[in-house]
Amino acid sequence: MKNSPQFALTLRKLALLFRRDFAVASSYRAAFLIEIFQALFGCASFYFLSRFVQSAALEKSLPAGTNYFSFALVGIAFFDYLSVALVSFDTSLQEARQNGTLENLLVTQTSLPVILAGSSLYPFVLMSLRTAIYIGWGAVLFGFPLREANWLGAFLVLGASVLAFSGLGILSASYLLIFKRGNPVTWAILGLSSVVGGMMYPISVLPVWLQHIARLVPVTYSLEGMRAAILGHASTRELLPSIAGLLLFAVILLPVSFAIFSWAVRRTKITGTLTHF
């Protein structure tokens, strides 16, 4: 019986700590809503994946001479470039805000776009190293086909992808600058891309209306081009439609995102929220 007040006290402390976290988390209402939609995107991805793996036409929808392992490995490895592009700008801003260096960076003779671009270089290089290791393990242990890949074509697709994805990343950073947290731009693009972009299954398994939406998402062109270059042994000329699609995204997204970013920086200098988080 002696222990029961102590137990009740501990329970109360646990409840207080839970309530603290809930109160802080629920003050960011957008983040709460995002969690709900993220679950929807996750659920949809698994549904279409199950349709794909249960389909008798599975083999036919893969590039000739490859298997599902190679298909999925390329999908997962290169989809992460989109994640890095979207998250790295956000992360560098958040980190600078949190470790107190943002103000000091902003009063140097280096513009914020250059600071953000420079801060995203390391994550991109790390991502490339990780992708190489993924593919290396796949080739050494699990028969991932490397020999006939068109590496020049793959690099061209990758370069065009990084340009297109960076536009999305800058849009995402603009949102973060203005609203500080709970970035729906990132989750909307990542969520939609993970369902319709062809990461785990070919887009041919999607309903026709979703296949149309897939054409509006840059990662679709990136993964198509990458698989064609690495698994389908496509020539560089055959990769041109994918590269052109990605460059078109870049041409549209980069100026628009830079304009929005400039507006966001100016606006936060007016509202006084540039260095808040």
Binding site: R29, N99, G100, T101, N104, L105, V107, T108, Q109, T271
Partner: protein, 268 residues
Amino acid sequence: MVENFALSLENVEKYFPPTASGWRAFVHPILRLTVPALRGVSFEVKQGEVLALVGANGAGKSTLLRILTTLLIPTRGRAQVCGFDVAREPAKVLLQIGYHTGADSCFYSRLTARENLVLFAGLNNLSGAEASRRISELTGPFGLGELLNRQVRTLSTGNIHRLGLARAMLHRPSVLILDEPTRSLDPLAAAEFRRFLLQQIVGVHGTTMIFASHTLAEVEQLSGRIAMLDNGRLLTCDTLAGLKAAAGADTLEESLEILTRRASRETQ
């Protein structure tokens, strides 16, 4: 002849949007600017002069300093640093200023002091050789010798602030802007820091300095003139003797109290 001044503020006003939480936070960036932070502030600071900003919390000191560092854009009026407009020519303004706040966390704590300085020197357009030379020049006077190769997380608060000042001085700025530089220092470290500011920054380099502080001893010791802010308005900008004479008081503390009370009576 505004260009002759290191700092010049003409009728500077700054308004912020009202604080918004919950779903209203989504319209915060486009809300009307209705909350006043600075109202019609005008003063000049000559080259080599040291000006202290004093006033209660929320008086507008940090807002004013942030306008001078281009981190904020004034709503109305004009602020110039060495003749360059902070809103229209921010890049030229940034060439002229060094900025340091009293915040404890303002470096990459896992990098060494030298690595941090090299990074910020590069971001301030110094070449590798220039950065090395400048760091060597600053090492002695700033007492950074043995500290340079240590990770910043292992440095004391006092040493972090010395490092912060060294960073602010790397590109030889004409104007040094300090926001409560000694707020996290113990009294002894703060006194040492003030001596250092007077001897090295003002004495040796002749740098113009504007700083905000709540420590009146610091204000008396460092500043040539004192600008007193109250609710965003500039009450006075004068020497210590002038301030005391205007208030008819013997101490700075008394003067501030009298002038604030007088201002609040006038606004009622």
